[in-house]
Symmetry: C2
Subunit: 468 residues, 2 copies
């Protein structure tokens, strides 16, 4: 029997079953597992890799259905003849293959988009999910309200009021399956004859989404206070997409003066709106949380978007949007018939998670956890002589390193990669104009790494970046 030496990476984006699948597939393709050779049983392999049996089964099923292995009743799984198969599979999977090849060489990944999922409250979620499924039965599976269930919207509105200073009733809230969906819905509500201004650098997913939904899109430069309102005024935009509480990726907090200017801009023209993406304001490690821009808006100009992807888990697919009252009416008229995108069971689980205090406790726990990682990384960076300054401290889940020693982002990224550490350049967040930038800025996300890993990775970076 063939012995599998798979080096699983639970922190990678690629699911475990896919890692197993890809490993075995490449072993078969490369001839390391020869045709007719027996593979370990799913039970044996799951024990050996310390993963659930269903994960291995999933990998085997995929290999089976693609013809790489064959099942023989009562005997087990065997590598199949693969002549001819190779071409077809390569076509279908070429992009995926590239990705996984590209990621293989990194021991540490400072992704700024990480979420620590080891701390997900599995037991509570399981308990609530069990309880919800016990309840009411038919009611839970009947089509719900297009906006989301009233109970969840009520819980969100209380949370937003207390934690974020947002003024709204549950009637103004629309629950949807992720920010991308809510942005698509918003475009359907307000129509696509708008010009949307985004900060530069920005969350590029939003930029792509607006431009693919046939909106006109432009970028507006930032200064230390956030989006420049004078430039916004001359941009011709009627919608401004901003992240005032913690700009992504720069980490800028928009001060009250700029906020008032921004609200003034919105009030100065017909049908101007501000989209406030409040994506990770839960994570602030110093002082009081920054209240949402929406709370200062007396004229119904701010569309507030929040998500549970960062604060609970990306895969639960629940976000929400708070519409000003005039847009609520437009929503009812134009999109009120569009069915909700979140299952009622999931909504009920989340509602109880919030109402029964688990959400607050979870946030406190994550805040403490991320703060420790933040502090560890900051401390590890402090005593270097590499010529950089740090920004973006005390909030979010990443830091920015500004280099002034003439080295380029590409060089710094390459040097880090040479030590097996993946870091990210600020350039990729710029929509245009990044060529003009003189400064090299590196992003280090710390949500996904424990303190030991952070220390080790920082040591490697120090070694990689030391000035010779």
């Amino acid at each position: 029997m063939y012995e599998l030496a798979i080096n699983l990476k639970p922190d990678e984006k690629t699911p475990l079953y896919e890692q197993i699948y890809e490993y075995i597939r490449s072993e078969i393709r490369d001839g390391h597992i020869s045709s007719g050779e027996k593979l370990p049983s799913t039970r044996a392999l799951s024990r050996c890799l310390d993963v659930s049996r269903s994960t291995v089964e999933l990998a085997y099923e995929q290999l089976l259905s693609e013809g790489y292995i064959e099942a023989q009743p009562c005997r087990g799984y065997f590598a199949a003849q693969i002549d001819g198969l190779y071409q077809i599979q390569r076509q279908n999977r070429s992009t995926k293959k590239k990705d996984s090849k590209g990621e293989k060489k990194y021991t540490y990944d400072f992704t700024p988009n990480g979420v620590d999922l080891k701390s997900f409250p599995y037991n509570v979620w399981r308990k609530l999910s069990r309880e919800c499924l016990m309840d009411d039965r038919a009611e839970l599976f009947r089509l719900g309200s297009p906006k989301g269930e009233w109970g969840l919207r009520n819980a969100i509105s209380s949370y937003l009021h207390q934690a974020r200073g947002v003024n709204c009733t549950p009637e103004q809230i629309i629950v949807g399956a992720g920010n991308d969906y809510l942005m698509m819905l918003l475009c359907a509500i307000i129509g696509t004859r708008h010009r949307v201004a985004l900060e530069n650098p920005t969350y590029r997913q939003a930029y792509r989404l607006f431009s693919n939904l046939s909106c006109e899109v432009c970028t507006v430069d930032m200064d230390a206070k956030g989006m420049r309102v004078d430039r916004l005024e001359t941009s011709g935009a009627d919608i401004a997409f901003v992240m005032p509480s913690h700009q992504y990726p720069l980490g800028t907090v928009m001060p009250i003066k700029r906020r008032i200017e921004l609200l003034g801009w919105a009030d100065g023209g017909q049908d101007r709106y501000i989209i406030e993406d409040d994506y990770d304001s839960e994570f602030r490690y110093k002082g009081k949380p920054i209240p949402a821009l929406q709370g200062y808006d007396g004229k119904g100009r701010v569309i507030y978007i929040g998500t549970f992807s960062k604060s609970i888990a990306p895969a639960i697919r629940m976000s929400y949007m708070v519409l000003p009252e005039n847009l609520c009416r437009m929503y009812e008229e134009r999109c009120g018939f569009i069915s909700s995108t979140v299952s009622k069971v999931d909504q009920l689980i989340l509602q109880r998670f919030i109402e029964e205090g688990y959400y607050e406790r979870h946030l406190n726990k994550m805040r403490a956890l991320y703060k420790n990682r933040h502090d560890t990384l900051l401390a590890a960076l402090r005593d270097w002589d590499a010529g950089f300054t740090v920004s973006g401290e005390n909030a979010g889940v990443h830091l920015l390193l500004h280099f002034h020693d003439g080295r380029s982002e590409e060089e710094l990224i390459r040097l880090a990669a040479g030590k097996g550490v993946k870091v990210y350049g600020l350039s990729e967040y710029y929509v245009k104009g990044s060529k003009d930038r003189k400064e090299a800025v590196i992003l280090l996300g710390y949500a996904n790494m424990n303190e030991e890993k952070i220390k080790n990775a920082a040591d490697l970076l120090k070694e990689a970046w030391k000035n010779k």
Copy 2:
């Protein structure tokens, strides 16, 4: 203490907690519960109404948060002073109030959009959901594939191949949170510079969606074989939205000749596509299932859309779309970055539900159940002397009654309502041109009623519609 005599209607669209909430609210508003009066405890009321305690708690919470009742620690709930509150609440809730008032007078509702949820496989769903949450932990809450999880797409592709004759690989499938979302996504993939033709009468939700997403929309008349291809040709449309296996609402099955003509139309112009909405083809009570149009398509012209809303439950929010290969490429380019709208847990539950044979068993059970209701309703209609003929038999979950005695749909609906029976006129499914129609057609959906109810309701209709 005030005694509550709430007549709950579990079959209504309005959730139970909302029915309780609305009843108590109106009792307080109308002065039947006076200010300061004590309400029953949640425990007592849940026992008395035979609903779960959380349902009553939800109703009370809503009343509390809107200020209709007050909680006094260790004493219970009391009706509040409501002076001044009335105006605000009426504004916010005016549409909802209208709906619930309008529905109150019906004892039986022949809605054609019903799904029997008493037969939902609660125990299996609960078991699978428990098992899925035991597994893998972090993996389940990490962001998944934008198209949906491979395992689920694989299960759907096998099902579609076997049950519907659809030719596709898992790579062509996109899982999404409901048909409305998938249609929005489709518009983002192909852009909105299209003219979409729908059958007339049709599924009006689709019509509204396309027109609100800024597509040009038109309707094309049907004959006994479905959408007329000659009229489609002259309509100037480049996209045809059809339901060939069981047209909604007419129940027409498109014969093979018309299908080939339709595919010929699609092949006769640049970038022409057919959207095949295969919404309830699972329910056919005579002969073999009608294979999907997609299976005949050799040129990559058919976009196939299917849903689990009808076959499992509306609130699970899972549908899927099969794209031809050229649109798959456009999807990857233009929308491949848009996150999935379905949670990974839900996808895994559904995958196992299909793979472990539960879906097939559930479909068989539902088919038998609906067939009995179909037969019961048909039998009950047979021995009348009311001047109508029946169509739409042997498939779906509704029948159509064509009246030739000069009475209008409005009159027939009014007569039925007089006996407490809600029936539906075909006119509301016509986008335009319904004025020209001479024939009065009534739709009777039977999915939501057991056989006894169907018999009783049919007796009432017979009485209501008898020719004097």
